[in-house]
Symmetry: C2
Subunit: 228 residues, 2 copies
């Protein structure tokens, strides 16, 4: 089958597409683009990537075609794939959209809230505060992911979950940066806590508004610290 030498494709994170080689390649390239390993407009050669990851061109091609749909690479017929990358403006635009949709999501989540999910959310918040105190920011980041995805599920809408998850992926790099300052993480925890309180009280409007504010604050934080 394959070399075996380069066979180091453990599935890190909970990204989709984890099975099969094309899924492996997909995650790999996406990570490399979002982390900035490839610079903008860099051309992605199928052979080169295949060789690097120890696979043939076929799974690489499938991955590149998917990344095109995600908007991360551009494919010119008979020429190949090149990195599109994300600008600060793109990030802000996504946050702007996300702010609206996250509000909608939380509103729906409030309407569909169950005891189990609410308990789960509070558990996540407890853990997040715990790890924040210990300054284990990697764990906080993971809990942040889980908090949001729990709400995406709770909204009970395949389309909302799909869309917001997409956005979430796009912003992974940004979140990795912002969720390193203890100050910001503490604020974020507080905001999450407030949102869950509003959900618990069944106050959809307030929860929606708080979720909206929460996302907006993230952008403000990005700008304040001149990140990117």
């Amino acid at each position: 089958m394959r070399d075996g030498i380069n066979d180091v494709r453990e599935t890190k994170g909970s990204l989709s597409q984890s099975n099969s080689l094309s899924g492996y390649v997909f995650n790999n390239i996406r990570e490399d683009i979002l982390s900035g390993k490839y610079h903008e407009n860099e051309e992605l050669r199928e052979m080169a990537i295949g060789k690097e990851l120890g696979v043939s061109r076929t799974p690489v091609r499938e991955a590149l075609r998917q990344l095109e749909l995600e908007g991360l690479v551009q494919i010119t017929p008979n020429k190949g794939a090149s990195v599109i990358g994300i600008s600060l403006k793109d990030v802000k635009d996504i946050y702007e959209m996300r702010s609206l949709l996250e509000g909608l999501c939380v509103k729906k989540a409030t309407e569909n809230m169950t005891y189990e999910i609410l308990t789960r959310l509070e558990e996540i918040l407890d853990l997040s505060e715990y790890y924040t105190a210990k300054e284990k920011f990697d764990s906080v980041l993971e809990l942040d992911n889980e908090y949001h995805h729990t709400l995406y599920e709770a909204a009970n809408s395949k389309m909302i979950r799909h869309t917001l998850s997409d956005f979430h992926h796009y912003l992974e790099r940004m979140r990795k940066t912002t969720l390193k300052s203890k100050d910001r993480v503490e604020h974020s925890n507080k905001e999450h806590r407030d949102i869950v309180e509003a959900i618990k009280a069944g106050d959809a409007q307030r929860a929606m508004h708080l979720a909206d504010e929460h996302i907006k604050n993230t952008v403000i934080n990005i700008e304040k610290h001149g990140l990117w």
Copy 2:
């Protein structure tokens, strides 16, 4: 290269991915899913589709992997692809999200509006009214597409355009149905006209609100006529 017999892949519409066989297959399968040719959970065999379209498995696989990302098919490793399909609830959820984002889009479009684009928009509206009077609803549908995409471009945000275009595709089937009643088309024209007037006046808030209402009215129309 290929048979030649089945070589009937003209690019209809302005869907993306139009070049190359995998693009052709992609459009084809998507169209067939959205038009209801394939029923939910139907399994899509690579060979069968390839044979039907006169291509080998390779482009079919690439297309299916892309459709997975679009959320139209589900791929189970070593088992294959099956149709996910869109429920009425999905449609409503998309409209709900779209209503918010379309408002944001129009707001941004207002801020970035140029004389050229405004002229183009008014031209589209004139044509739409013309074809409505003649009851040429296919042309109206195409102009509706163009109207929205023009606004998506005008917002000057890659991410907004990307997201709203995605939604637009999802709803293609729905729009094909709703934009057949002269009554609804006339209302739609009027709403489009009002939005453009607000844009022209530079009233972003009003334009945003009208765009929001416009999308909501579409849903009301769907429900009123018990479509789907």
